[in-house]
Amino acid sequence: MVRGVDGGGLCSRRRLLQGAGAGTAASGAILLAGCGSTSLRARAQRAGPVAGSDVELLNGLLDLENQTIAAYTAGIPLLGPSAAPAARQFLEQELSHAGELAGLVKQAHAKPLEPNPNYNLGHPRNGTEVLMLLHELERRQLTAYFQTIPRIAGGSLRASVATIVANDAQHISILRSQLGLSPVPAAFASGNE
């Protein structure tokens, strides 16, 4: 259940997923969508061995991805025709990110964090407030990723994780443009912009 976006009531995630339109119906298919030409499994293998010390870090990032996915899923129905297509694309990409992170945790023979049954997303009442929520969540992801990357043990894994935050930074640029803000406000993306 995803709390909040439709005026405070609880919403079935399945109903929201159906309402969010094409590309969000089946999470299994979505996990492979939007990841370019390389399958998630190949990407996970290319990231190299995942140290036990990296598992908690990756699960921390996965937790944030799951929250952001919930926000996109719940918020897309409130977005207008100019913002909704980008949000759907970003939702697909966030699902790919979550799939990648989960796959990496499994590679370390550990258990990926499951999404929470509900998230407190506040009560966005219109498209602008949804965009502001999504912007905030993407910023939190950036902050967490940049703090985490130097702590990751494996070099290849570090680079793989960096490809995710670079895409999240792109989401922020478009969300900022849709909010009438400068798309790239800083020379060093940080999540504090």
């Binding site: 940049f146 990357i149 130097p150 793989s160 960096a162 930074a169 640029s173 790239v184 060093f188 940080s190």
Partner: protein, 197 residues
């Protein structure tokens, strides 16, 4: 009966001290090698950043951009110059000489020959061509940082590299949006940004 205190080390104690001294020396040489490795990586990244900045300066100089697009390019050039400044400072800290910027359009285009880039600075005749070049330069930047991240050993440099890579990706996304208005799947096609070699 207590053992008399003696300065003479047992054979085991001597071996342990030698091992510790060797480990310290290895640690110092490992640290030195790491700094040397980071220095080489920084030099390569600086070469790429200088090429990108040169590309922006050239595009702005030939005045094919509309005012709005030129404004964006000017803003992004300033950010690229901040990247150059930051990396130059880190390189100086490691005692590494920074590479010089391309000396001409021809030399910049020769550098582009080594990358998966179809555009050339000498062959720009429209705003679209200019924006395509800038987008490709940003993707070269993304690729440089993607390759650098596994090699960098200093956590502070790893963080800076990831942040700059993300900013280059943002630049590429903005140019992608201008090249493909209303087509978000073309503007931001990949969930995992690796750039171009």
């Amino acid at each position: 009966m207590e053992r008399a205190f003696s300065w003479q080390l047992t054979r085991r104690e001597a071996a342990a001290l030698g091992a510790a001294a060797g480990a310290a020396a290895l640690g110092a040489s490992t640290a030195s090698a790491a700094r040397h490795g980071d220095g080489d990586v920084l030099r390569s990244l600086l070469r790429t950043e200088r090429l990108i900045a040169f590309g922006y300066q050239h595009v702005l100089g030939i005045r094919l951009l509309s005012p709005g697009v030129a404004y964006l390019a000017t803003s992004f050039l300033a950010q690229e110059q901040q990247h150059v400044a930051a990396l130059s400072g880190q390189a100086a800290r490691l005692g590494v000489a920074a590479p010089s910027r391309p000396s001409s359009v021809a030399s910049a285009d020769r550098e582009l020959d080594g990358h998966d880039v179809s555009s050339r600075l000498a062959d720009l005749h429209s705003q679209g061509g200019c924006v395509e070049l800038l987008a490709q330069l940003e993707m070269v930047g993304e690729g440089a940082y993607f390759l650098a991240l596994p090699k960098l050993t200093d956590p502070a440099l790893q963080r800076i590299a990831a942040q700059i890579m993300a900013t280059e990706a943002q630049h590429a996304a903005v140019w992608g949006g201008i090249l493909h208005p209303g087509q978000i799947r073309k503007a931001i096609p990949d969930a995992f940004v690796e750039g171009r070699p």
